[in-house]
Symmetry: C2
DNA sequence: CAGTATCCGATGCGATACTG
DNA sequence: CAGTATCGCATCGGATACTG
């Protein structure tokens, strides 16, 4: 039923790749996720049952390998050589989405998802030498996404940690932002100047931390794709 | 239900592209099909209902445009600029399939499908100056695919026509072939010498027509992708 | 030729509960 | 933490018949 009955190379590739959720699972692995729960964090709306099924299918197709980590005992997923060669396809899909779609609407605004991705896009080399605690407060969340709206980022070179609970220590930089505007900034659709000027985003803290912010926050992988 | 609830560019692109049959419909249009029945010939296993639905969805997403032909009155589908930019993604999928899968098995051996694609891959410039009638006879068809097994290709520069009924005139070249072996040759998995040597394929006709055959038959679009 | 309307059945998928 | 087993339903998609 999931087959196409054609020997065309596009058809056989689609039988592996073009299943529901599969391209996004690969996106997560390309982005650096290795463990089941890590992959699941990037795909909160997939059921664990279906995620397990898809990972098994990818394993059977020779796209990922599952097993104990090379160093250390935990179970992990790795890409095979064949899986690695899906990267240009996923990149191509992302580039297309960046160029041709309106990406932020009220159906997909999710602060937790944004922060999970953001935490993976920190330029560690650009961070200040000392420990930094950044608090993110989001306003304007749609009712349907009843997730958290306050997050803390603990930046301690070279470590980055995302917290959902107040770490308790002093906040060095507060990012107080309208969620939609911040997502548009994240995706490259609006500049930081723009969203700060119209007061959608407030950066509160010592001047040097405010100035450093756009240096270490890399934004979305696709933010540089031209429209 | 078909959405992913994420503003990630990969996710929004997948909502358009990664539906069942959609990449193959785009492949057909990229390959040159313009009319509904033409697209359907390249996808014999999709129902007309579903093909119409998918084309409508692609139209709504701004990927194809439907309307009367620019020159002439018939209805036709054309790619928009956005649709054209899916081409590298489809190419990438085809290249992956060519490199990493076994493509010919008994579940997808379909002589009619092969001939429909073959007829689009003729190097018209390489054809002999005069009219040529080529007959293809396939052996070893799996029982489940009860399609035709004899086809005629009418080559009359610059026109190429595929016939399912005997045109009646004299055959200049007979291609008598095991279907599986010929499909493997078509896909670039085996050379013509190889399949002729082991008698899977017989070319019968005047020497000059036999020698010209591999010049004007271009094989699959992906046949040159390295394994 | 180029589709649409309607019906119905298979299966994809989520929810819940459970295990090593 | 990293999944699996089971159940039930929603929806996706095929078959058939019909239209401009």
């Amino acid at each position: 039923m999931s087959g196409y009955g054609q020997f065309c190379p596009v058809a056989v590739a689609c039988e592996v790749f073009a299943q529901r959720w599969t391209p996004l699972i690969l996106r997560e692995i390309f982005a650096g996720s290795r463990h089941f729960n890590e992959i699941h964090r990037g795909l909160p709306q997939i059921s664990r049952t279906l995620l397990a099924t898809r990972l098994r299918q990818l394993e059977d197709a020779g796209v990922v390998m599952a097993g104990p980590a090379v160093s250390g005992g935990t179970h992990e997923y790795r890409l095979t050589e064949a899986g690695e060669e899906f990267r240009p396809v996923v990149e191509g899909l992302g580039a297309w989405g960046q160029r041709w779609t309106v990406r932020v609407d009220t159906n997909n605004l999710d602060a937790g998802f944004l922060m999970w991705n953001l935490q993976r896009r920190i330029a560690v080399d650009e961070l200040p030498a000392q420990h930094l605690l950044v608090e993110f407060r989001f306003r304007g969340l749609p009712e349907r996404h009843r997730g958290a709206h306050i997050f803390w980022l603990v930046l301690s070179r070279p470590d980055v940690e995302l917290c959902l609970k107040d770490p308790g220590t002093d906040v060095d930089l507060l990012v107080d932002a309208d969620l939609r505007a911040f997502a548009q900034f994240w995706l490259g659709d609006r500049s930081l100047n723009e969203v700060v000027s119209d007061k959608s985003v407030h950066l509160v803290g010592r001047g040097e931390w405010v100035r450093a912010f756009p240096s270490w926050l890399l934004r979305s992988h696709f933010s540089a794709v031209p429209r």
